[in-house]
């Protein structure tokens, strides 16, 4: 299992410059840390010595050899944030989480790390949780930040972020609505289609929120596979002839209620989608 995974990774990256770093980055993205087993496997399969692989893995701060928590909290201790009170925030975070910077809480919820300047000095002191920036943080806000992160910052954002709005779509051929109010994603009815890839066939629900990439499906769809989309009502394939500008996979068109067409890239993991509301094009 592990060896297969690694050999696939190697196939993709080997021969390129800096391949090792890309490989480690992918492993890190997948497991949120670098498991010992995988590092050993990378060394064996790529013909590098384990010492070299380990050296690279420990050199870069972006890599972690310990499992990380669900949420990553980075508190900035760069010069600007330092004079604006960063250390007090770090202390408060350490106190409330009961861990030191660089550690993970025993329940694997939070990992705390300190960083040296995030390039947002004017906003200091800066705390970043799972990619969400908190600026001008005061120690009294720490508790709130932690609670918010526990609930999940993405949900909070979907409610308040104006760039995200729900759309309603139907099949281009039979005009039957594709919305499924029984199966909600991100708190809104999802778009239900039938998909097939390889030998597999089944339903998939896509978030109807423009800007959200959440999907659920009957079968786990591996990244990078191109899937065929079908209307669950008339069983026609949803295909338009356009192909993705980023990865060249066919685009999947759906008609938007109220006029317009939305096109999604049919490659899993490719985030390209186009909204055409008759004239104005969002990408």
């Amino acid at each position: 299992m592990v060896s297969e995974e690694v050999s696939k990774l190697l196939e993709r990256h080997e021969g390129k410059q800096g391949a090792l770093i890309s490989i480690l980055e992918e492993i890190q993205a997948r497991y949120s840390y670098l498991p010992q087993e995988l590092l050993r496997e990378v060394a064996v399969q790529s013909g590098r010595s384990l010492t070299d692989v380990y050296g690279v893995a420990t050199f870069y701060k972006a890599f972690s050899l310990q499992p990380r928590g669900k949420h990553l909290i980075s508190v900035c201790l760069g010069t600007a944030c330092h004079v604006r009170g960063g250390p007090a925030i770090a202390d408060e975070l350490e106190k409330q989480l009961g861990i030191k910077a660089g550690q993970t809480t025993p329940d694997r919820e939070f990992t705390l790390e300190s960083v040296n300047c995030l390039g947002a000095c004017a906003l200091g002191p800066v705390v970043v949780v799972d990619g969400h920036y908190f600026s001008n943080v005061k120690s009294s806000q720490v508790k709130e930040i932690l609670e918010k992160s526990k609930k999940g910052l993405d949900i909070v954002e979907i409610d308040t972020d104006e760039r995200i709005f729900p759309i309603e779509v139907s099949c281009a051929r039979c005009n039957h609505s594709l919305m499924d109010s029984e199966h909600q994603i991100d708190g809104h009815p999802s778009i239900r289609v039938t998909v097939s890839f390889g030998q597999r066939h089944g339903w998939m629900c896509i978030s109807s929120l423009w800007g959200s990439y959440n999907v659920t499906s009957k079968h786990e769809i591996p990244y990078e596979t191109i899937v065929n989309f079908f209307c669950p009502h008339c069983h026609a394939e949803l295909i338009g002839g356009a192909s993705c500008s980023e990865c060249n996979a066919p685009m999947v068109p759906m008609v938007i209620r109220g006029g317009g067409v939305v096109q999604l890239c049919s490659r899993r993991g490719c985030k390209n989608h186009i909204l055409d509301l008759g004239g104005t094009v969002f990408e």
């Binding site: 010992q36 010595s49 384990l50 010492t51 070299d52 380990y54 050296g55 420990t58």
Partner: protein, 225 residues
Amino acid sequence: MVTLTINGLQVSVEEGTTLLEAAKFLNFPIPTLCHMEGLSPYGACRLCVVEIGEGPRSRLVTSCTYPAEEGLVVRTTSKRVDRARRMVIELLLGTCPQSKIIQDIASKYNVRQQRFRQEYDDCILCGLCVRMCAEQMMAKAIGFRGRGETRSIGTPFDVKSDVCRLCGGCIYVCPACQLRCTYNQPEKAVCGGCANIAAPCLKKPEFEDMMCYMDPCVACEIKKD
């Protein structure tokens, strides 16, 4: 062939020769620590500094890594070199005051005081052992890990390496000498090379399983609380 001047003497050397080798050819002594014949030059200890160029454009370089250039003017013992070298020695002494090799160099260059806090570290990160392991023993069992303050040398994951053949080469070349010595924790040992020498730690019961190359090392005496 390139011709250069070292301390006023002209010398022609083959292209690719380092300043250190050229100076040695002329018998000008340059102290070295991280340099060893048979291992690739690394330039870690900075002990071998020399001054090149003239006037305000002169600068200090490490002679063990700097290749000879046509017309280069080199001084191996200028005032500036001397000052820099003594500072390097002082710093090395601060890191590893217990190392006999460093002490010897200090006494040779008449460094009698040492203004930095003594760390009693067991490694100066000169990389000799790493290169020995990779280039002469073809094992690559040990390497550098981490960076900055937390940079260290050791095996991956701090467990005994599968590719280590216990040759002891790393301990043999170590100028801090007790680098690989794990005192009374034989399970962590990288080396197990020889038990033939009467190192002081070997005579104590708690070090019974240990082996040590470094006869006059005495590091274990200092380190062990």
